[in-house]
């Protein structure tokens, strides 16, 4: 291969690599083009937040959390709606971000271990009339993670506790498949 052609090939490859990196950054932080594609092919109904457990189950936390104290402090903050969860053993801290309700759920199981969950349910009903909804598919994942992180930062917790909760934030896509057999 002659030097001029080799140089052109190198520039092309570098261009491809830079473009891929830019596309990934845009997708994560600015505009989710993967969400646009997946919604176009029926693979995305809405985006929501969850914890790394299957079927909407909560995750067990390793540290102790004083749920009544969290509830009493958060009730003084007007940005939040505080509800009891599971017959008074738990707490749902909710906040609206651009019409989407983010819920952070903490509750103590029968072994005394605190469990943690996340969702975007709105029992008052979304504009679609449904309880289950979330962000548009094109919303970048980072925006959803940041909203939950803001809620966690406002909770009266130690840095270690906040860090544990933040490690369990996951963005998930609800699939909209209409299969007819």
């Amino acid at each position: 291969m002659n030097p001029a052609r080799r140089k052109m090939l190198k520039i092309t490859l570098l261009g491809i690599m830079v473009s891929v990196v830019l596309l990934i950054i845009i997708n994560r932080y600015v505009f989710s083009w993967t969400g646009l594609i997946s919604s176009a092919v029926g693979l995305c109904k809405y985006k929501s937040v969850a914890v790394p457990a299957e079927n909407g189950y909560p995750v067990k936390l390793s540290q102790a959390y004083d749920i009544p104290q969290i509830a009493s402090v958060m009730r003084t903050n007007r940005n939040y709606e505080i509800n009891e969860h599971y017959n008074g053993n738990g707490l749902a801290v909710s906040r609206m971000f651009n019409g989407v309700k983010y819920n952070v759920l903490l509750y103590e199981n029968h072994n005394g271990v605190t469990e943690f969950n996340l969702n975007t349910y709105n029992f008052a009903g979304y504009s679609s009339g449904l309880v289950t909804d979330g962000e548009r598919c094109t919303t970048p994942s980072y925006a959803l993670e940041r909203n939950v992180q803001r809620i966690i930062d406002d909770l009266p917790l130690s840095d270690l506790q906040k860090s544990e909760l933040k490690q369990n934030i996951r963005v998930q896509t609800t699939i909209d498949l209409k299969l007819t057999f």
Binding site: L13, I16, M17, V20, V21, L23, I24, N27, R28, S32, T34, G35, S38, L43, C44, K47, P52, S141, R170, V171, Q172, T173, I175
Partner: protein
Amino acid sequence: MTSSTWLLDLFVNHVWLAIGLWAVLYCLDFIFTMTSARLYRDGAGRHFAFSEGIELNPIFREDVARIRLVSVRFLLFLFLVSALLFILYELTIAEIFTLVWGMLVGSQLANHCRHLRNLVVFFYARRSAGVSGRIQYEHWFSLRLSAADFFCFGGLFLILFLFCGNLFVLGAGLGCFPLALRHLIDSIRKHKD
């Protein structure tokens, strides 16, 4: 009780671990291939002759024939597939990510089994230990043997999937079949020529 899929959950929930594992397997694939090429050059070639070299993938044939320590093609593939995995993770549909990751890791695991076997054969053949005489492999025959191996691995993974119903194992099975088919088609074409 710990979940039976805790290891899979660990990788699926930590994208960098998942990409890292695939990258390590891919790099090992390159290292094993180059080590085989070196053993072949240093004496194993006295017993085994491959008409078009030991590499079956035409994209890397030149790099392997020259035993290059650094291959631009290899680095490009490493980067592009890692990026593809990250983009799939960003789709935030865990099932799709698990399936594709299974395809990539499963086909690499099958590949490594073949590599390890070849390394053992070449290691002894280099010193003529336990091996005598000379076998000439035509390229179409090497491709056909590889196709048979990948069909076997694909079938094995699919049977395992029927037992455990895990998307990762299904992906591993589905990942082996395209490789097997490609080698089979290349083998038929080569045999006709």
